[in-house]
Homo-oligomer: 137 residues x 2
DNA sequence: ATAAATCCGACAATAATTGTCGGTTTTATT
DNA sequence: AATAAAACCGACAATTATTGTCGGATTTAT
């Protein structure tokens, strides 16, 4: 139960883009990776996921790169985490994809983990990228 | 960022013991493992951790086993999770043991992850084993 | 004495994460 | 038109963490 480095990297990249926000234009993987001291090849995969999830937009070719798809205020942390950790990232037993635990019916724990997940989600959805770069949340 | 099966197993074992609470006496790994359909050898390691953390007590020898060290009402979920996932399980960058990220000083994300951790902790500490078996929390 | 249990550490198997690489496509610039 | 810089993509390798197994030592009720 840890924050994966993937998610940490992803958030740092998003913060980078949010901070550069005013300077219109795109920022390349290379730039971000250098600034954040992350392997460019790995970062590319991470950023690609975020782009597919719709929170970043990209520009191919020379002078291309990435930028936020929306103002930082309208990108919630929940979106970042969901994009990188996957939906229902926490309570696997509930996700349709995984195997449902054989004990599920009589599992008193299940209800609890679900509530736990809801708490997390509601917190993550209450914080925006803007909140983070302005350090108020 | 998942609940490890270790923690799930640990919670289920704790719930088992909480439910058996009235029937005084000790419950063996074998019993718990069979009831919860967990490998006894693995469960032993998990339960041993919880015992060392002080939430379970043990009785060696024949007719021995484990029981809650306190009434279920006074065992909070935070205790279970901390015992099994380790302190500061979530925000690694803060734990003294791990390597501190080279970017830590200028890392706007850090403050956020810390707040996140605090949210989790306060929720986990607000729920007791009793709440869980009575399904009210 | 015996059997049932905790206790303990080493190790093996598996799975997940993290990271690398080579190539393809797109596009601004020269 | 050529070039260089960048996103895009999938396969794979390396590393780490989790999960699970085992054999023995110790304790204790019967």
């Amino acid at each position: 139960m840890k924050i994966s480095t993937k998610t940490k990297y992803g958030l740092r990249a998003a913060i980078y883009l949010a901070e550069k926000g005013k300077e219109q234009g795109f920022h390349s993987i290379k730039q971000i990776a250098k600034s954040e001291n992350i392997s460019p090849d790995y970062l590319e995969k991470i950023i690609s996921k975020m782009e597919k999830a719709g929170m970043l937009k990209s520009q191919k070719g020379a002078k291309g790169g990435y930028s936020l798809a929306r103002p930082a205020k309208r990108i919630k942390l929940g979106e970042v985490v969901n994009a990188l950790e996957g939906d229902n990232y926490f309570v696997q037993c509930l996700s349709g994809k995984g195997k449902v635990c054989a004990q599920c019916k009589k599992c008193a724990a299940q209800n609890f983990w679900q509530k736990f997940q809801e708490k997390l989600d509601s917190f993550l959805d209450s914080v925006s990228l803007e909140d983070i770069i302005k350090n108020k949340f």
